[in-house]
Amino acid sequence: MSKDNQILEEFTSKEYEHGWSVNYEADEAPIGLNEDIIKWISTKKEEPLWLLEWRLKAFKTWKTMTEPSWANVKYPKVDLQSLRYYSAPKQSNKPKSLDEVDPELLQIYERLGINLNEQKKLQGIAVDAVLDSVSVGTTFKATLSKLGIVFCSFSEAVKEHPDLVKKYLGSVVPMTDNYYAALNSAVFSDGSFCYIPKGVRCPMELSTYFRINAANTGQFERTLIVAEDEAYVSYLEGCTAPQRDENQLHAAVVEIYAAKNAEVKYSTVQNWFPGDKNGKGGIYNFVTKRGICAGDYSKISWTQVETGSAVTWKYPSCILKGDNSIGEFYSVAVTNNYQQADTGTKMIHIGKNTKSRIVSKGISAGKSQNSYRGQVQVMKRADNARNFSQCDSLLMGDRCGAHTFPYIDINNSSAKVEHEATTSKIGEDQLFYCNQRGISTEDAVALIVNGYAKEVLNQLPMEFAVEAQKLLALTLEGSVG
């Protein structure tokens, strides 16, 4: 057995850090999926009739759809009837502010390193904390509202800003878009809503921290971000879940709308429970994320660091409708043990002089499978569209797989599309070189991997970048002897 293989035998020693759960008294929907459940959720959330009708319509469509099978992932079929679609911590009085939120719930976040106390919090990041099916609190709401920025839970937005929600909900990801998006449209329970009015540059990072706690419960959240003309916002998303033997489903929808000259930066550090080293348990992460650069000169930039989940199926995309609009996708996806990831992006060039840039860095270890799937589409009237794609794969050991599926569809002869791809292995040579300088093998792997992913990590806001670097090192800890 070569050293590389021995190295990888020891790859799995690190336990998932956020695998704990707490017991809280829950307000739960009965198990199963049918119209009554959807009505139950809608009633629970005191929703207006139009939204219930929207949900039911989505459900009706969903029933006619089949689960997609084109992704390069294998997993047993999820029995959607055995899941619970709503689970929320019971709170006797609806808290009006963070001070009234049950301290025990706040403690969950504190344990995850997310302090929801505004005084203690790092300046410059506002957080919406979503636990299972509901948002438990949002920080800095008042500060932001002075600028006209709305940042709150989705449920609250439905109540307080129904016109905005009605206008944009489903406008980027239609309820019938795909199997999981339709399911989400029918049963979504909460998420974050963010609205930046015309000409406002959001002064702090907005972030949502998603935590799945309950067992046998799917998390179906929706995030909607609207940036009006000349607005700017940087938005962060983080996620963790307890370690459980059963697989859990997470099917989210994120919609971004960018008007003229608006810019939205969306960053994700996804660290859902990936399953244990034998591939038992873990989150099925089936997510639809899409943004539309509706206005001229608008820009949407996706950055993702994907380290968790048993199965990931996720393609944050940009519809470049406005002339001169820009779409970007920066991704690091790490898979270890039996994890499977099929992730990438779609860049749809509709407007003239639209530009897109794709940088995807896959890292596969253990017996995992890591696929990049990306589509670049240039429509007929998209004169002078430009795309640059770079897809790199880094392999650790010889039992994992890296795959690249680029789709290019050009309908305008003035388009310039470039695609570069590389595959490399962390070599014994590199490790030995580091060792010979006194660097431990574990730190050498971290160094090499972070160097490899640098171009993507550089896109993340500072605090997140540090976090992501640690996470990469942690995910690969024990990978080498």
Partner: protein, 254 residues
């Protein structure tokens, strides 16, 4: 400082080293010469702890410690430095970042405090002069796109930063033009002290004009077959290796 006794090593079952004996004391410079395939680079790799070589017999003590028992990183931390014949590229990791990690891990092992950014940069600036290396080069990805000369200079720069007690230079002269050779040798000479030792592995005598050895050993078929002073190197330069090969080979057939 270094004591090698009857060292045998093989790779994938093929014996390469067949009984090396060598004593290196502090303050000394030893040159290991020999024809291609004689086992020079293997000796360097075995001392540094490269795992594809299997030590089948013999022992190596370094400052009283059983070197062969130590992991490669611990050998480095104890003060063994190998200047690679082919330095490895690490994309996305700057030389500065790489070295800071290395220096601080070595310091930690030796019970010293980690250097903060300011102290580290001060030290770097000072050592950079030794090998006339440009700071721009050090902010680039380690060895990526470096010329042959830049890579070798970077090796000696790292050596200066890590302050080893035993430096092994593996064919450091290969691929260097005469100016680079002078700069690199100059750096090595300045780092020389009564407390450290250097083993220079080379095919050509040329390097030894610059780095003057106290002892020269000729390696052939995995053994040191001849030892002498720097005059031996000059003799080899003049006569080649054939006379030694013939002498040894005829001995073997007797």
């Amino acid at each position: 400082m270094l004591s090698i006794k009857n060292l045998h090593a093989s790779i994938e079952g093929t014996p390469i080293l067949r009984g090396i004996n060598l004593e290196v004391k502090a303050g000394e410079v030893h040159a290991i010469m020999g024809p291609n395939g004689s086992g020079k680079s293997t000796l360097a790799s075995v001392l540094a702890g490269r795992e594809e070589y299997e030590v089948t017999e013999g022992e190596v003590f370094f400052k009283g410690k059983d070197l062969l028992e130590l992991a490669p990183e611990d050998r480095a931390r104890e003060g063994v430095f190998l200047a690679f014949q082919y330095p490895v590229e690490i994309p996305g990791v700057s030389s500065t970042n790489f070295l800071r990690t290395a220096v601080n891990q070595v310091r930690e092992y030796r019970g010293l405090e980690a250097l903060d950014a300011v102290k580290f940069l001060t030290m770097m600036k000072e050592k950079m002069k030794l090998v006339e290396i440009d700071q721009k080069l050090l902010s680039r990805s380690l060895n990526e796109g470096f010329s042959g000369g830049e890579k070798k200079r970077n090796e000696i720069f790292q050596m200066a930063m890590l302050e080893p007690t035993l430096s092994i230079l593996d064919e450091t002269d290969s691929g260097l033009d005469i100016d680079a050779l002078r700069i690199v040798s100059n750096g090595v000479n300045q780092l020389k002290s009564k407390d450290n030792a250097t083993i220079v592995v080379t095919h050509y005598q040329r390097l030894l004009d610059y780095i003057v050895p106290d002892f020269v050993h000729v390696l052939y078929k995995g053994r040191i077959v001849k030892s002498g002073t720097k005059d031996l190197a000059l003799e080899l330069e003049e006569k080649g290796y054939d006379w030694i090969k013939e002498a040894i080979d005829s001995e073997a057939t007797v």
